[in-house]
Amino acid sequence: MDTGLLAQYVMNGLMLGMMYALVAVGFTLFFGVLDVIKFSHGDVLTVGAFTALATYVGFSSLGLQSNWLALLAMLVLATLSMAFLGMVIARYLVMPLRSAPPLNTLLITLMLGTVLRETVRLFYPQGANPKPFPPLLPRSSVDIGTFNLRLDNVLMLSAGMLVIVGLQYLLNRTRLGLAIRAVAQDEETARTMGINFTAVVLVTFAIGSGLAAFAGVMNGLYYNEINFGIGLYLGVVGFSAAIIGGLGSIYGAILGGFLFAGLQIIGTVLLPFASAYKDVFAFAAVIAIMAWRPTGLIREKISERV
């Protein structure tokens, strides 16, 4: 295989992996602070993407032309409103169930996901149909041999990278991050040290859900199309990525996201049979990894088996 094609595969994989990683980070954050698995996470992404689209429609009906301003407005509005939605979900659905068996949380968020998805389908105008998403980033591209490098992909990748670095900084270098890590490690000790447990949980859910909205907008910009079902698939993939990376570990989630994308690409490129089986291959690999390392590739300091 020539290097141009290889570069193309790597680029495709990086784009996919970035989206998966952003979703997986959310799963891992929620599990970290509350030890819950929040299955509505993927559908929060969908709602975020549709919020961004609605913002764009509103923006252009005001007669404003600038793509960059529109994009900024979409990102800010989608991220903030999903952060808020995440807090509401945490406060009124997840936290009240803390003393109930974890299965209840899992079920209730699974159902909430269906409610969110169906709400988009039924109440967004013509929500059952795929919606074209405006290509707001510059579309120029360079051909390097057989490799087609596009400016919008580079911009999206850098933005995703910045978000991850920013999150890393927030978690490791700020007081808020310290509080989140303290709660994740030991809730009761954290409380006795004077950390406001509820506030930390709510902020964590806000961050995770905001990341999902960001991934939703990125998904829209990359494919120029969104539909009410995107979150379901991304949710399952993001969850699997978080698991193979090691639930509770941020690095693990990122690693898991890129690993899953890599597996899908390998499934398409190297397997002799039809590429329709690439998901079968990728998920089978996830099962194998889980059997090999039940706590994920990067273990949490005090790990719990899934």
């Binding site: 193309q8 795929p130 074209p132 494919y223 199309e225 698939y233 899908q264 490129v269 039809a274």
Partner: protein, 390 residues
């Protein structure tokens, strides 16, 4: 049976007779069905079909000489086999519905044929093109007004070979519909023997990301990418081809002939090939009449490629009921002897499998945001050129 329930039964029977007597001067209401994808990725086609069937019923009800007052029962199959079986069962189990014009999606239509057969419910398929729908079994209940995908793939392979293309990569969805297209196109291309298939890729019908498959295709560097599937993923594949800088001809099937394809892609749709059975709506014998009547109803969406077929199927059902009365068995018997019947899509003849034998295939190419007949396009005249066209 206890005495009370016997009494109740007699009482209600008497009531029904009395009601029937009261209504004697009004026309009897007869229900006919329509099933198509009203939500989901191909809903534009389903809604166009639904509207067209609605036109047929409205026109009939406006005619004072008819024996019955018709009511259209509409159900949504979402283009999904499992949903299709549910709604088909629902419709066929309702004894008041006499017959139905059913299904745009092949995957939905093929899943339901046994259901219709079991219930003895006569249907006329209005859009699905998989040959197996009529030919796998010999069910008296199943008919189809549009042609099958065999003819369109013959025409497709012929045009590709004639234009001098040598290599083709095939992408198809892994439903019965996409697999059928792959099979018949590959056969037709082999038979002509001028072009060869360099790679075949099966993809899921709701897949989002095709960059891995397309990068693999880019390495194969084919002249043409053939796509057997429906509009939503057709739009995704064509747009991702552009993102990867692939400059092959995009060669589709009847599944992408819709305004939604052109709208979803904008300028990128230019030069896409597609094939469909029957003539374009405005070239049909009754095309002008149909469009006039359709536009009078002021629907907010167009009839799309198969609207005329949905109209013709519904008209045929209504004709049969008018002639033999609202009884399923009689309607089935009546549909058996359809021969050289005039309709807005041309003469209709059902063979012994209930398949209309329409030989006409129309070749399309997208030019300036419209599906234009190939022979009338600037591509055929040489004024414009497809990528790699000699």
């Amino acid at each position: 049976m206890s005495r009370i329930s016997k009494l109740a039964a007699t009482g209600s029977a008497a009531l029904i007779v009395a009601m029937a007597a009261a209504n004697a001067d009004a026309k009897d209401r007869v229900k006919v069905g329509f099933i198509g994808p009203l939500t989901g990725g191909v809903s534009v086609n389903g809604i166009g079909g639904r509207n067209s069937a609605d036109v047929a019923v409205k026109l009939r009800n406006a005619d004072p000489t008819t024996k019955y007052e018709y009511e259209l029962v509409v159900l949504d199959d979402e283009c999904k086999p499992n949903v299709a079986v549910q709604v088909a069962t629902k419709m066929a189990a309702d004894k008041d519905v006499i017959a139905g014009a059913t299904h745009y999606c092949s995957a939905a239509a093929i899943a339901t044929v046994d259901t219709y057969h079991k219930f003895g419910f006569p249907v006329i398929v209005w859009g699905a093109v998989l040959p197996d729908i009529t030919y796998r079994n010999k069910y008296a209940e199943i008919h189809r007004v549009n042609g099958t995908m065999i003819n369109q793939n013959d025409a497709n392979a012929e045009l590709i070979s004639k234009l001098g293309y040598k290599t083709v990569a095939v992408i198809h969805d892994t439903t019965d519909y996409g697999k059928g297209h792959n099979e018949y196109f590959s056969k037709a291309l082999d038979k002509i023997g001028k072009a060869k298939i360099v790679g075949t890729f099966g993809v899921t019908a709701d897949q989002q990301d095709f960059t891995a498959e397309l990068t693999k295709i880019k390495a194969l560097n084919p002249d043409v990418i053939y796509f057997g599937g429906l509009t939503p993923i057709g739009v995704r594949i064509r747009s991702q081809m552009d993102k990867l800088g692939i400059r092959a001809v995009f060669d589709g099937t009847s599944g992408i002939v819709s305004d939604a394809y052109v709208q979803g892609l904008g300028p990128l749709a230019e030069g896409t090939l597609a094939f469909r059975e029957g003539a374009p709506t405005d070239k049909l014998p009754g095309g002008k009449f149909f469009m006039e009547k359709y536009n009078e109803q002021k629907y907010d969406s167009p009839p799309e490629a198969y609207g005329a077929f949905a109209y013709a199927a519904t008209v045929m059902i209504l004709d049969a009921i008018e002639k033999v009365g609202p009884e399923r068995k009689k309607v089935i018997a009546e549909l058996e002897n359809v021969k050289d019947r005039d309709s807005i899509v041309g003469k209709i003849t059902f063979d012994d499998h209930g398949q209309n034998t329409v030989p006409v295939i129309t070749k399309y190419v997208v030019q300036d945001g419209k599906f234009v007949e190939w022979d009338e396009s600037e591509y055929a005249s040489g004024k414009r050129k497809l990528p790699g066209q000699k």
